[in-house]
Structures are given as structure tokens and as C-alpha cells.
Symmetry: C2
Subunit: 460 residues, 2 copies
Amino acid sequence: MLNPRNSAFSVSAGAIVLLLPLTSSVGAASQGGMADLNVGLDFLWVAIILLAAKFSNLVTRYGQPSVLGELLVGVALGNLTLVGFDFFEPIQKDVIIRFLAELGVVILLFQVGLESNIQKMLRVGPHAVLVACVGVAVPFILGTSIVGPLLLPDLSFNAYLFLGAILTATSVGISARVFRDLGKLQSVEAQIVLGAAVIDDVLGLTILAIVKASVESGNVSFATVSWITAKAVLFLGGAIFLGKRLAPELGRLLSRINPGIGMKFILAVSFGLIFAYLAELIGLAPIVGAFAAGMVLEPVHFRHFNKPVIFDKIDESIRDASPEIKMAVANVLDSLSHSHIQDLIKPLAYFLVPIFFVLTGMQVTLETFFNLPVLVLALTVTLAAIGGKIVSCLGAGRVDKLIIGWGMVPRGEVGLIFATTGKAMGVISDELFSIVVIVIMLTTILPPPILNFLLKRQDT
Amino acid sequence: MLNPRNSAFSVSAGAIVLLLPLTSSVGAASQGGMADLNVGLDFLWVAIILLAAKFSNLVTRYGQPSVLGELLVGVALGNLTLVGFDFFEPIQKDVIIRFLAELGVVILLFQVGLESNIQKMLRVGPHAVLVACVGVAVPFILGTSIVGPLLLPDLSFNAYLFLGAILTATSVGISARVFRDLGKLQSVEAQIVLGAAVIDDVLGLTILAIVKASVESGNVSFATVSWITAKAVLFLGGAIFLGKRLAPELGRLLSRINPGIGMKFILAVSFGLIFAYLAELIGLAPIVGAFAAGMVLEPVHFRHFNKPVIFDKIDESIRDASPEIKMAVANVLDSLSHSHIQDLIKPLAYFLVPIFFVLTGMQVTLETFFNLPVLVLALTVTLAAIGGKIVSCLGAGRVDKLIIGWGMVPRGEVGLIFATTGKAMGVISDELFSIVVIVIMLTTILPPPILNFLLKRQDT
């Protein structure tokens, strides 16, 4: 009988072994590397996640954004073990699925960046900076000096520092999806939240870096703090400044090699991926880089490329039509070509983004809800976490302040990175970790329906 | 300082740890699992591969298909170690890149399946069956009974059996890309090659299964052989028969949940992935399943879904136009909507397919070319490998026979799977493995330019 595992490797199996065709050392190491790749099963997981995510779209019938459905279907898939069904358990540990999820959130933030207008962002700039600073400072002080010492008196100061850092995080992905699902990404509120979340990410990661350095060394110098801060600010500024100058040149160069749609698509995606890599290289989250890349790219950078084939087909089919018809069609096509890069990215987002949100939902362990003392502590910290972000809206100027406040609440995957970093360093105890997990879960699950309600109220 | 590795995990790091929020056993196992995932670096590799692949499009200026450029740029990237530059070495061992390559060839075959017309395929059916049978039988007999014992007299009969099995393989991906690049996928020759390659894959994998079983057990029963053969034939027949009945129902059901473009896209992609998984589950190559899935899906299965947004925008913009204009535009849009599923899959293919071909090129080790005795043996086996497939074109009827013959020559990743399976079983020695690698390289690299020449000659 054929062993399905064998046919699973195709190129992969060949890849490693062929490196050493004349030696005999096709050893345990490369065999081990192959053992964790079962492409067929990964295809099945991806198909299940995508179909489950699409079934969850039923929540849109009840006026909820589809991201909530994806999170909930993730919670369901991830907690079927509670009723003894563990078929989906391997999904969470699968490196391939985890990578696809990570690529998904990078593509999402790249899309959000593409749709963000840098001029509009600069106009709301001062408000975004104020919202971000308040939204970082208040939760950090709450966590470090009030909620931590009062509710959890037995922990070390380092643990309070980490709690504070975790509470500063904002996961822009969740709010961005809600704004996007409701077609509100261009509103002033969305622009402030997105701008503030980016600044917040930079500030939060700077705080994390400082907290980590101070825990590791016992104290931290002013020079280190300044350097980490400068690095973060320089990256974003530099990315936008250099990107704006490089993108048109790159567009011209690559369109000379091949002016096709494929090249246009690859130019855009590679730009996003390289910025994500650079952001990570200097210690920021990859999503920050992807967002910056999206902001930098403008339709005008792609003017040297061919129009979509669909346009040529349309042109051809009306070749013998009256000038009136030709003019009408040409006008339509012209206005459509500006959004073409976004259209090209969309199928990639359809494929990858739901994987991120379903996987995030799967990480929610419902069991933690059943431990009463932990739950009470967690709910209190959650109130502080929400309150600390909601006050940030006071810096937002004349807009719907509650939308901004709730838009800043989700901690999502950014909070998770912070918590796992602290846990890995031995600073965060098991109890504190459980509490933090519940806080992150609630701050991730609550904002979508509330934002949805607030945004719809705004329309009436 | 922030360690970039830490921020690399985002969800991933959380995913594993959060499974155990109330226990202290965040142990070495899960940490080890995380260590092999560095998403930032994978983003960089993907961007480099995609940009290199697009630069290689320069070969199209010299009339060569772009797949040849991608293979050659892969050979270049993979052999830079020869000049002491090993920056790109990690790419070949990266599980993520290997998975993306594998997903890429599955998407490619799914696309090819979507573009294959099942009626036309049935019409060329008898020819395809004949081409496949001759193209499997002749190389198998050549390898097992002539080339093997004559050129390599010291090896075991089991080794000859494997050599024969390796020579039977046809890698449809390479030829399909050449036909596709030149817009020849609908030609009779292409349909015969594609049909024969699928049958060939089924036959080849059956032979591999039989050879493997006979090597493992010392002998093999008629019952086992029959069962493996029946399984392969039943899968393809069953997939097409059941798929044709299930696809319309599934389309209707899912369009009720959400008639959007995203759902349409997910339905198609999931269909391809699940068929790929099923094929692998019963011991066939995933690409066989993906191809079957693509053949099953027809535009009519998607009639319940919304038209693309671009269509609505066009409709809206000509709302006040004359009936003449409206009719002209409606006709254009109607003819375009049939190809829409292919258009949705394209960006995914732009992203994934070049990864497969560049990685295949990277596996070519130029060093083997410098060992003269091995090289001479390899060239002789290559001639047999090419000749054994070229004779298969005699079964092709009244068409350009050489196109069919050369279309069946590439062994590519299918040959590689066979060779690594034999190597892992200890049947294929290091020397035979090197020879087989060169044969697979040459049969993979030669057909694109030759097919290109033959297809262009046909046009004049």
C-alpha cells in the first residue's frame, strides 16, 4: 500500500535530499525536518478554516461585522475538546497555519495602509498622537501602579511593569476589520484610530523593550530608552520618506522588465513583505511595516503598467461602437483603474485574513471562565483595561469620541505577544497569565459588536 | 534591546502557550516548535523569490516561456554557494517556503483543470490513454530491463525496478506552464498531453506503490496490485462523477449564506484543496486531486453568486445612457463573467506558482555536472528517458506528434518524489541517486525551450 505521508512531500522531500546528492549523509536531521510537513493535511485545515469562516458570515444577517463571526467560529473550533472532540486540535500547533495567519494579518494591514490616505492621516495627526499617548500612558500607569499592586499584592514590581505594558497594546487589526466591514475606513474616527494604533504600537513596543531591558539588567539607562524610542520613530518616518521616493522608481524599472498585471501585483506585495521584514528586523511588529508600505504606495506608482486584461477585452468589444459609447466606457474604465491594486490584493486577503481571525478565536480557552476567583480578578482588570483606553478618546477633538475609545480597546495578538514574552522570562506567573488571557479575550471579543452598534447609531 | 525573534511570533507564540494557561508546563517542546518559525525572514524569502522570478521574465524577450526564466533564476540562486555566497541557502530548507511551493503547484494544476474542457478531454480521451500507456510502459521496461542492467550492472533488481518507476513519471506542471504561457492550453496537443499526464500520474503512482510493496515484502500479490490500481481509477472517476453532482448544490447552499465574491472564491479554492487532500489521503499526488477539482467546476456552478463589484459600478455609471450603450456594455459584461473564477484565482497563482518553479530550480546542483563518469552515465539514461517518452507520441493520432512527445518528457517534482522514496528505502545508492538527479534536471530544463520552438513553428 502507498503510504500517504510519502507522497506528501513532493518538492519538499527532494529539496533537502538533493542538496547532498553525492554524499551519503541524508541523515536524521533532514528527515526530521520533513516529518513536520504534511501538505495534504494542511490543505484540509486551510479549507476547513476558510469554509468555517465563510459559514460564520451568517452573523452579518444579525447586523454584526463578519470578523466577529470568524472569531466566534474560532472559539467554537478551539473548544470542541470540552465536549471530547479533538479533531481540530492540531490546527493550533501547525506551523504552516500559524505562518498563513501571520501573513494574513500582514496582508490585512497592508490593505488598510493602501486604503489610508496619508494626507487625511496627517490632518488628523495631532489628534491621533494625543489619543495614542493618553491611551498608552493611562493603561500603563493603571497596570503598574494601581490595578497591579491593589488587586495582586503578592507579585513583584517587574510583574506589574509587564502588566502595564500588556495593557498599553492596541491590536489595530480587529478595529480595522470592523471599520472596513461597515465601509467606514475613510471616516475621521477610523483615521484617528488607525493613526493612533500605529503610534500606539510603536510606543507599546518601545515600552515592552524598555521593560524587558530593565527586568533583564536590573536597571536601564536613559541612553537605551532614547535609542529604542528613536529607532521606532526613525523607522516609520524613514519608511514613509524613502518609500515615497523609491516606489515610483521601482515601478518604472519593473514595468520595463514586464508591464503585466502579475508584475504590478508582485511589486506591491513584495513591497509590503519587505517592509514587514524590516520592521521586525529592528524589533517592531511586522504589521507596522506592512501598514507603512501600504501608506507609501499610491496608484500613480503603477501608471507604467498595463491596464487589466478585462479593460482590453471591453475596449475591443466596443471597437465598432459609436464615439458616444466609447467615451462612456472609457470614463468608467479610467475611474476603475485607480482601485486596481486593491482588487488584485483582495483574493490574497480572502484566502489569508480569515485564517488569522479564526486562529485568534481558537486561542480562547473557555475553561478559564469557570475558575471564579481568577474570573473576578480578570473582570476587574478588564474594566481597567477598557477604561484606560476609553479615556484616550478625550484627546480626539470634535468627533464621535466613544467610537475612538472603543476602537482602541482590542488587545488581540499584540497583547498576546507581550504576555508570552513576560511568561517566557519567568516574570509573569501562571495565575497572572490566566488573568491576562481573559483580559485579552474580553477586550478582543467585546469591541466588534459595540463598535458596530456605535457606527450604525452614527448613521441614523 | 528588543530581540526581533520575539516579535516574530505574534499569534503563533500565543497559540501554543495559551493552550495551557493554568499549567506551568510551557515546556521545551512548544518552545522548540516556535523556534523554527521566523515569519519576518520568511516574508523576506518570499519577496526575494517573487522579485527574482519577475526579473527572470526577461527571457520572454528572447521568445522563451517565463517558466524557463523562473527555473534558471532558481538554478542561479541555488548554486551561488559555488562562488562562496550562501545567503540564500536557508530558503531550500525552510518548511514554510516548501509548503508555499507545494500549494503553488496545486493552485497551478487547479487553474489548468479550470481551463480544461472535460468534453474536449473526453474527445481526445482514447489518444490520451494510448499516449499515457506507451509513455509509462516503454520507459519502465527501458529502465528495468535495458538501461539499468546494461549501464549499471552492479545494482540489485530492486534498484532497476525503482529506476524504471522514476522514468515513468511525467510532471505535468512544467508542460502545462509552457502551453499556458503561449496561450496553447486549448489546443488538441495540450489536451492530449494534459489528459495523458493525469493518466500517467495515476499509472506511475500505481507502479511506484507496487514497486514499493514488492521491495518491502519480497513479492507482491495480484490482489494488491489490482487494489492499488482500482483505487487510483476509482478516485478520479468518483471525484469527477460526485463532484459534478455536488458542486452545483454546494454553490447554491453557500450563495445563500453569502452571495459575495469572497464566498465564491473560497468555495472554489476549498474545493481544490479538499480534492488535493483526498488524493493524497488515498496515496495519489495532491496535484491529481487539484486538477480533478478544477475539471469538475464550471462557471454555471457559480451563477447564484453576485457579479463582481466592478460590474455594478459600470452598470451604475451608465444608468442614464441610451439603451444602445446599455446593451453594448451588458453584452461585454456577460461574456466576461464566465471567466471570473479564473480571474479570482490568478492573484493567488501570481503569488504562489513562481515559488514552486524557483524552488525546483534551486534543487539543481551544478556540481554534479563536473563528475565525468557520473555525467556520461547520466546523459545516456537521459537519452533513454527522453526517447522512452517521445515514442509515446505514436499513439497520438493526427496531430503534431513531437509536441506531444516533448510535452510528456518533464519528470520534475514527480520524479523527485520517486527518487527520494527509493533513497529513503535504501534501494537507490548514492551514485544512482546522482544519476537520477541529473536525468530529472535535464528532462525538466530541456522541454520548455524545445516545446516553445515546436509550438511557435506550428504557428508559422
